[in-house]
Symmetry: C2
Subunit: 395 residues, 2 copies
């Protein structure tokens, strides 16, 4: 049988993630990998989670093993109200819902906010999961250049007005303001405020994706854009994946209650509810201060690795190579001499024992093929030094 | 701010589930509830799951707390290949993927297979979660009448040909052949084969949703429609929710590999992966024979309750009332005298200490307002007798 005739447009829109296709290559045993953008399993509180999981099933099994509310674990939502307050976001339980990772939040919001053909603005480069979710509902992603302190605002007004002149629908900017995946760039305080003013002027919503904000090294990043939002124009996405564990698929959306109510309806038909055990474990970790209480160590863990990587790049990188100097998060972004195609170079790098992710797939337009993403989360400081030296020797 | 201008069509399509709106009423403390269609928490293997969860986090934490494959836990997929074989479905690991409950399977398949405006055929009555998932992608649900042995096949050909004459796209039949939610009806063996022949003739795909098949009382239901499928025309959905626990959101799809590959791409941008801990717990339960090995007891548990309910109906139901006699599953479907509106009657029933779910919302068209669904899964046999007596006294 031939199935394409049964497929909707979504089948055409849904693209295979080129990074995933490289997985077999990237994950060869023995290799020093700067590829996978995942938190270090060394940071997971195994004993505590094992104890909590067992106790929850014993004591609250009839609840945590049963169907539950689509909106999510009430105790965890209440915890998040307080946490958001700490970041300057005044909110309440009506404005928060839990999702199966921020990826689900992005998908549900994409379904609610983007119509086929809509233009969505995203950073160059940007998180592939976010742009793919928006792409999979038929959205057309348009790229916005960034500089060291984030989005180039001057370009946005011009771009939006031109596109609207051409009859395009532009409703949404997608941004990752803190230690961005993949670039490591942080949007400055001034630009956060200006972006919000601009969004208001152009009547755009802002999708603020913030999985890394708590993973700063020395000083916290500026407050979330959402904290300056008096109009209800910003939708904020937070996640426990990088500050606790990603396998317990638990994240949250903060948005005006009208938006949350609609997202809840879409989630209801999308999966009824997220894992009840995952949510309960995360709620109990929060109660036992295993999230906030472990952040100090976590920041130190990643800072050492980032500094090691930056020092090694300072020492070994050939002339004509530039890279970002992130102040938090998991990623360094490297731009090589313009004639180098990092996708072509990858197999050679792997032969030399080092893996990275080529930069091109992170661009929704105007891809720079001479870029690459380095994650400093997986390897030990020693192996990071060795890996960077090997990579640089190749260049 | 006014948000509707930012919303896509999905915001209009996504309806609020009327059963959920009744939750507060239905869940009043002290009430005898035949409303919630959920498995009994008395059947959950708490000690075993607590032990397994704790051990998995200790021994395999770096895997079960980390991001994982979108396709799902490999060990569990391999187990399912063998399980499907037992039901007569010849398949392989390329044709199976795991989802966060069957609800996610339904949603992902709806996104892949239904275009806005497409006509989708569904049983009258049908599972609300299934029809809502299809509705939320813009599908138009059209109802198919059922008799005691399931779908009325004579109607289908006629309906499809007429709709195609009118220029409508009809690609899909959605059916729950075993102990259907909400009606308790089982599709006969003969009709399963005829339905498949008809689907082939009309070039339709069949979405076979089978969460209850293992919960038969005396004899197994006929083999799945998928077991007779030589063309690759049937997409089968199975779930651990009713045979283990629903809070561990784990279910599966069996479909031709071309379809699975596309569904996997959509899931990747929908949530990256399902709960890694949930999947690993279910896989370990399967390995320890806590699924198959507990089915005998589970069947007995529900059979006693169903028989009690049917006996009480035999004894107390007034003339003019009819009901189904399910041979498995969780539900009995009742049709009252035609002048009774069960939605209007509900608050009076609750005052009298009994809750049920009104039947009308289960119909995608031609709703019978004098129907209701009784779940026999929640209450003890004693309370089932008392509850049915109370309900019948009201009528």
């Amino acid at each position: 049988m031939e199935y394409t005739k049964y497929f909707s447009n979504v089948a055409d829109w849904a693209k295979s993630n080129p990074i995933r296709r490289l997985t077999a290559l990237i994950n060869r045993p023995g290799i020093i990998s700067f590829a996978g953008g995942v938190p270090s399993p060394e940071t997971f509180p195994y004993n505590e989670i094992a104890e909590i999981a067992s106790r929850l099933v014993h004591e609250k099994g009839a609840e945590v093993l049963q169907y539950g509310l689509t909106r999510g674990n009430r105790q965890l939502i209440e915890y998040l109200v307080a946490q958001m307050q700490r970041l300057g976001i005044k909110t309440n339980t009506e404005e928060i819902m839990l999702t199966s990772g921020s990826q689900q939040g992005l998908d549900l919001l994409a379904r609610l906010l983007a119509e086929p053909g809509d233009i969505i603005l995203a950073e160059l480069p940007s998180y592939i999961g976010g742009t793919y979710a928006l792409n999979n509902v038929g959205g057309t992603l348009t790229g916005l250049p960034m500089s060291e302190d984030g989005l180039d605002l001057a370009v946005i007004r011009d771009k939006v007005l031109k596109m609207r002149d051409l009859g395009c629908q532009v409703k949404l900017i997608y941004t990752i303001p803190n230690f961005q995946n993949p670039s490591g760039i942080t949007l400055s305080l001034e630009k956060r405020k200006s972006l919000l003013t601009l969004a208001s002027e152009l009547d755009l919503l802002i999708l603020e994706d913030d999985p890394y904000g708590e993973l700063y090294f020395d000083t916290p990043p500026p407050p979330p854009i959402k904290s300056f939002d008096t109009e209800g124009r910003v939708i904020y996405l937070g996640s426990f994946s990088k500050v606790l564990t990603p396998g317990l698929r638990t994240a949250w959306i903060v948005a005006p209650s009208e938006i949350i109510a609609k997202v809840e309806l879409i989630k209801e038909a999308a999966d009824l509810c997220s894992s009840m055990l995952d949510q309960a474990i995360v709620a109990e970790c929060a109660r036992q201060d295993l999230i906030q209480g472990r952040l100090g160590k976590l920041r130190e863990f990643y800072q050492v690795r980032c500094q090691t990587m930056l020092s090694a790049l300072d020492k070994f990188a050939p002339k004509g190579t530039t890279w970002t100097r992130p102040t938090g998060g998991l990623f360094v972004w490297v731009e090589l001499a313009s004639q180098i195609d990092t996708t072509e170079m990858l197999s050679k790098a792997v032969e030399n024992g080092v893996a990275y992710v080529p930069g091109a797939p992170f661009y929704v337009s105007d891809a720079k093929v001479n870029t690459l993403r380095l994650a400093f989360s997986k390897e030990t400081p020693e192996r990071i030094s060795v890996g960077i030296e090997k990579l640089c020797q190749m260049l």
